[in-house]
């Protein structure tokens, strides 16, 4: 895999890992990735992206810059138009068992209990046994849902449903977690709690995580690296290393070092700070 090391050493990828585990479990490597949809929408244009084993990488960017497309490509759900994507040392050509993907909505099966939903991956993988069941109980406990194992999704709140989805994701038992705005549909308070739970889980599991989010603070607080994308066509504008120590805590939001990182991300997004919510102006207000 000579090409891999070349890409990892590329400047601008920030914190590009050196010799560590190019072939190791949990490596994501995307090179010159281009995706053009039918109808000529160029969702991604020559994007390079990498993640080391155990690394937490956030992707931020305005709506429509190709974040979801990037995750879908890495998950092998849609075909590439150009470039290559390698995960765990193997090129991605179709959906794979060693990559787990979590969507914006919980997508639980309403006819199954929380426990049954978490047990879906082993059930589909035909390795549903006592060990799997035990693990499902533990994961539900880990995401703070013990006591709700036998409750159906209809009787769980939105945040609880997302936690079931998170437990199901962890049940897949892989080294690569792809999270596409996993908590976008819940309220701010719940979302902050779920983020911290995600952090805790990640720190315990040492899996590689790729998180898509709209929230720069959130992206920075959680990640080792923040990838800033711009739209039309989707490109990487900046890659920001986050050298804050782990475990991360919400108090870090107040630290000047953190503030600086956030400001840098904003400038990468070319969002005027007075009007930070308005992504429509992102392309126009080039600094």
């Amino acid at each position: 895999m000579q090409e891999d090391s070349r890409a990892l050493a590329k400047p601008g990828l920030g914190g590009g890992p050196s010799a560590v585990g190019e072939r190791g479990e949990g490596t994501i490597l995307a090179e010159n990735v281009t995706k053009e949809f039918e109808g000529g929408v160029r969702a991604l244009d020559d994007v390079d992206l990498s993640a080391r084993p155990g690394e937490f990488v956030s992707i931020v960017g305005p709506s429509g810059c190709g974040k979801s497309t990037m995750l879908r490509l890495i998950a092998g759900l849609i075909p590439l138009s150009g470039g290559t994507i390698t995960v765990n040392g193997r090129q991605v050509t179709e959906p794979r068992q060693d990559i787990a993907l979590m969507f914006q909505r919980p997508t639980l099966l309403p006819w199954q209990t929380a426990l049954q939903n978490v047990l879906l991956p082993p059930k589909l993988g035909k390795n549903l046994d006592q060990g799997a069941e035990r693990q499902a109980y533990e994961l539900l406990d880990l995401v703070g849902l013990s006591g709700f194992e036998h409750t159906y999704p209809r009787h769980l709140s939105g945040g609880m449903q997302q936690r079931v989805a998170l437990a199901r994701l962890l049940m897949v038992g892989v080294d690569v977690l792809l999270l596409d705005e996993p908590f976008a549909a819940v309220d701010q308070l719940t979302r902050e709690r779920l983020n911290l739970e995600l952090l805790r889980v990640h720190e315990r599991l040492s899996a590689t995580a790729l998180l898509v989010t709209h929230n720069i603070q959130e992206a920075t607080l959680l990640a080792d690296r923040v990838i800033v994308m711009t739209p039309r066509p989707g490109r990487i504008a900046d890659v920001i290393d986050v050298p804050l120590p782990r475990p991360r805590a919400p108090e870090m939001l107040a630290e000047p070092e953190f503030q600086e990182l956030v400001l840098r991300a904003y400038s990468g997004l070319q969002i005027p700070l007075v009007d930070e919510g308005d992504t429509r102006q992102a392309g126009v207000n080039g600094a």
Binding site: E25, A75, G76, L77, P95, R96, Q97, I99, A100, L101, F103, R105, T107, L109, P110, W111, T113, L115, L120, P121, K123, L124, G125, N127, G131, E133, R134, Q135, Y137, E138, L139, L142, E149, H150, T151, Y152, R154, H155, L170, V172, G173, V174, D175, R204, L205, A207
Partner: protein, 298 residues
């Protein structure tokens, strides 16, 4: 749960729930009596409610009417099953394959927009005066709602859930079995319920055209003899048959699509929790032992 049921059946609550429909019935029967009393309609055309009740009672004590009830019930149930089976058999491949959908879709719509009752005399000419012709008429009428609703159910299964199944490496059969089938059940059942009612219509229409037995035959006979109280009584019987079919479908729906009904969900949650607890006790009562690593590498 049990307490909840008892609560729902308590006399006070029953009274509170039942008075509006009962009041309306009283008003209706009152107006009916009044119309006859003031000679707005002749008693020969519109019998007294009391006479209808008497006729109803006498009919169900006679021997012959049960054969007619049985005939109509058999025709509509068999017709429903046949129509629903055809609907499912065509909707499932249509839902899974766009080619099949384009192949069958136009003809299903053509069959729908044709007044299918017009086909009934033809079917009787082909299949004879016996039960089978009524069963086919009921089936043809019951087919369409099952076909359309099942197809809609399959096509509207959540796209993200399908993507999730793909990302988990599910086979086509697994996706069908664990996602498409349960996912399309709620909409499918809406079609089945409509079809159950329509199959009764089909059976009665078939009997009107030509039959030896059946409630449809009875209505026609009584009406032509101007035995109005008897005719009304038979119509009441048809209503009860319809209610029976509806009730059975309603019950089937609540049992099958349990996840749309809160009471069923709560009961099932309880049962599953109890079963899990028992299993735990069988394994020595120790809580599951934590694994050294949380994520098993498979």
């Amino acid at each position: 749960m049990a307490r909840k049921v008892l609560h729902a059946l308590s006399p006070m609550r029953l009274a509170r729930r039942l008075w509006p429909p009962l009041l309306f019935l009283a008003i209706l029967v009152g107006l009916w009596e009044l119309a006859i009393e003031v000679d707005y309609v002749s008693e020969r055309i519109l019998p007294h409610p009391k006479d209808v009740a008497v006729s109803f009672w006498e009919l169900i004590r006679s021997d012959f009417v049960w054969d007619d009830i049985g005939a109509t019930l058999w025709e509509s149930v068999a017709g429903f099953v046949l129509g629903a089976a055809l609907g499912l058999a065509l909707a499932i491949p249509s839902g899974l394959s766009p080619v099949m959908r384009r192949m069958l879709g136009p003809y299903a719509v053509a069959l729908q927009v044709t007044p299918r009752i017009a086909i009934a005399p033809l079917i009787i000419a082909w299949a004879g005066f016996g039960y089978s012709s009524k069963i086919w008429i009921a089936a043809i009428i019951a087919f369409f709602p099952v076909y359309v609703n099942t197809l809609t159910g399959i096509l509207t299964v959540d796209e993200e859930a399908r993507e999730m199944f793909r990302s988990l490496g599910a086979s086509r059969w697994q996706t069908f079995q664990h996602l498409m089938v349960p996912g399309s059940l709620p909409v499918m059942f809406a079609g089945l319920k409509t079809a159950a009612g329509l199959s009764l219509v089909g059976a009665v229409v078939g009997e009107f055209i030509s039959a030896e037995r059946g409630l449809g035959v009875l209505v026609q006979q009584f009406a032509s003899q101007l035995a109005m109280a008897d005719a009304f009584a038979v119509i009441l019987m048809l209503m009860f048959l319809g209610l029976l079919l509806y009730g059975v479908m309603e019950w089937l729906e609540r049992t099958t699509v349990f996840w749309l009904h809160d009471d069923r969900l709560v009961a099932r949650s309880r049962r599953r929790a109890a079963r899990a607890e028992k299993k735990l006790a069988r394994n020595g009562g120790v809580p599951p032992k934590p694994r050294p690593t949380l994520v098993g590498r498979r």
